[in-house]
Point group: C2
Chain length 315, copies 2
């Protein structure tokens, strides 16, 4: 498993690439480029990132891993990615492999992040855990029975779309009441705005300029500073996170939940709130071992590093 590998986390607005010593978390260099949902343009962008990393570090990648949000088939075809709406049924893996002349493996971004946290982060040594990233939406990845869970096609972990309130509000996906509607970073922003608009979050409204301008960031900053209203909003939010997690624990019997994504910056108030509500909402919690809740350790490069680690397995 010698040599270097590149991992690229392909998001809706940017593609973040790292080059690492194969099978390790030693990141030798990183590059960012604008993303695109036009297939050929995206292939050019990714090939350019690989070339830049080679020039930067004087290392040629022996394999490349891509992490893509949504339905990224293990064959290398992106069936559908909500962040890259025009990239439908596009064989990004084979196309990039053709250009680069090295093997390219494609996976889900959250699954890749889970692999990284498992090998080098908060999930080390744990055989049954979830990584849950709270950002624009909710991403999840799982290790079960000591194996990274890919699913039949590589589509496992679309848990943000799990319906938890079947008669609840309509989400952008067209579903009613999916978990992501209530428990993503977007949801935290909505809760903050609602509170600010009804006069229950004056600190946030002042910080943002107007009540309408409150986002999850204002709740996060307030909560991290111990601001009372922000903590109340965060508590209501953590309840929604806990509700979906309780479902996942019932299905998978997890021993650990790792919270990642942008909201991780809130730190301990977020971790403790999720921990509390998971216990409250988990049926039979009194008869089960405690499910630990921890913060992710690897930061925003986890997805790219995980993609590099998955590519390392090709060597």
């Amino acid at each position: 498993m010698g040599g270097e590998v590149v991992g690229i986390d392909i998001g809706g607005t940017k593609a973040l690439a790292v080059i690492a010593a194969a099978g390790t978390d030693q990141i030798l260099g990183s590059e960012v480029a604008s993303s695109s949902d036009d297939g050929p343009t995206l292939v050019n962008t990714l090939a350019g990132l690989v070339a830049q990393l080679a020039a930067q570090t004087n290392c040629e990648a022996a394999a490349v891993g891509l992490g893509v949000a949504g339905l990224a088939h293990r064959s290398g075809v992106v069936h559908y990615s909500p962040n890259l709406p025009e990239l439908i049924e596009f064989p990004i893996g084979p196309k990039l492999q053709e250009v680069l002349g090295v093997r390219v493996v494609v996976g889900n971004d959250a699954t890749a992040g889970t692999f990284a946290e498992w090998r080098h982060g908060a999930g080390q040594g744990v055989d049954n855990f979830a990584l849950v990233t709270l950002g624009t939406g909710i991403g999840t990845g799982f290790v079960v029975g000591g194996q990274l869970l890919h699913g039949a096609s590589g589509f496992a972990g679309e848990s943000g779309h799990m319906v938890v309130d079947a008669r609840g509000p309509a989400h952008v996906t067209g579903q009613q009441g999916p978990w992501e509607y209530f428990a993503s970073g977007t949801a935290l922003g909505r809760l903050g705005r609602e509170a600010a608009t009804s006069g229950k979050f004056p600190w946030g409204a002042a910080e943002a300029g107007t009540a309408d301008a409150v986002t999850s960031r204002h709740v996060a900053i307030g909560a991290a500073q111990g601001e009372g209203d922000a903590l109340k909003i965060l508590d209501a939010f953590c309840r929604e996170v806990g509700r979906g997690l309780a479902n996942l624990v019932l299905v998978l019997d997890l021993e650990l939940v790792v919270i990642g994504g942008g909201l991780c910056s809130i730190g301990e108030p977020l971790r403790a709130g999720v921990d509390y509500w998971l216990r409250e909402l988990l049926l039979g919690a009194e008869y089960r071992p405690v499910v630990r809740v921890a913060l992710a350790e690897l930061g925003p490069e986890a997805g790219a590093l995980g993609a590099a680690l998955i590519a390392s397995e090709l060597l």
Copy 2:
């Protein structure tokens, strides 16, 4: 893996035991006894079943497997079983092992049934599938990535308690809107009674004597015979089954769902209805391979046979 093994499915009212050639589906004999939620009484009952099977077949079991609904820890301790409410934190595995002098392994009943359907039934050769048993409640078990899913403690597959309607009706578990409330055999009976009471299922009311006496059995018999109102009730029910299955497919990326449990007697109308609603309710179904829906093949002995197969792995 020579010799014979006993598998026992321990339900709320009865314990069903089979003796089989280790690692096969060759059932050599079976016995049934009344169940009990008094620990020592239950141990005596189970030891008696093993002795009766030995006498019946002239074969001594080399190992014994127990399948128990609820939280049956892999250490052999039943933490809590909803069907055996007094059997709390009882070490049924070690106690029975002491009496019998052969190794005893304890697992979840639905997980055991899943193992049987995987090795010898509808799940043969499939690496990612669920068994979903529709009875008094909902039991689920999973094979993921070519492995039987046990979870951290052996508690995986409590999916019937997954909340799908967070502001929905209260269930006997104290939760609001768990999947089981809407999609178990009990739920089908309730839907039938509601229809009969409001004059929308006269066939059922006549069959049962009164509208209040309608159960899932009357809906099942009507649907199997093609009775129009029963088919409408079944369709509404299949929608609720499909809703929870869609969640499980999003989380696990399953390629097959096997429907088992008492309601299986309905046959093709049930299978086809679940198949239809799973496609309708699964987000992104148009971008995913079709998830097949099949009926279980092994019948009511699946749990006991699966427990015997798990015990075979000890040899």
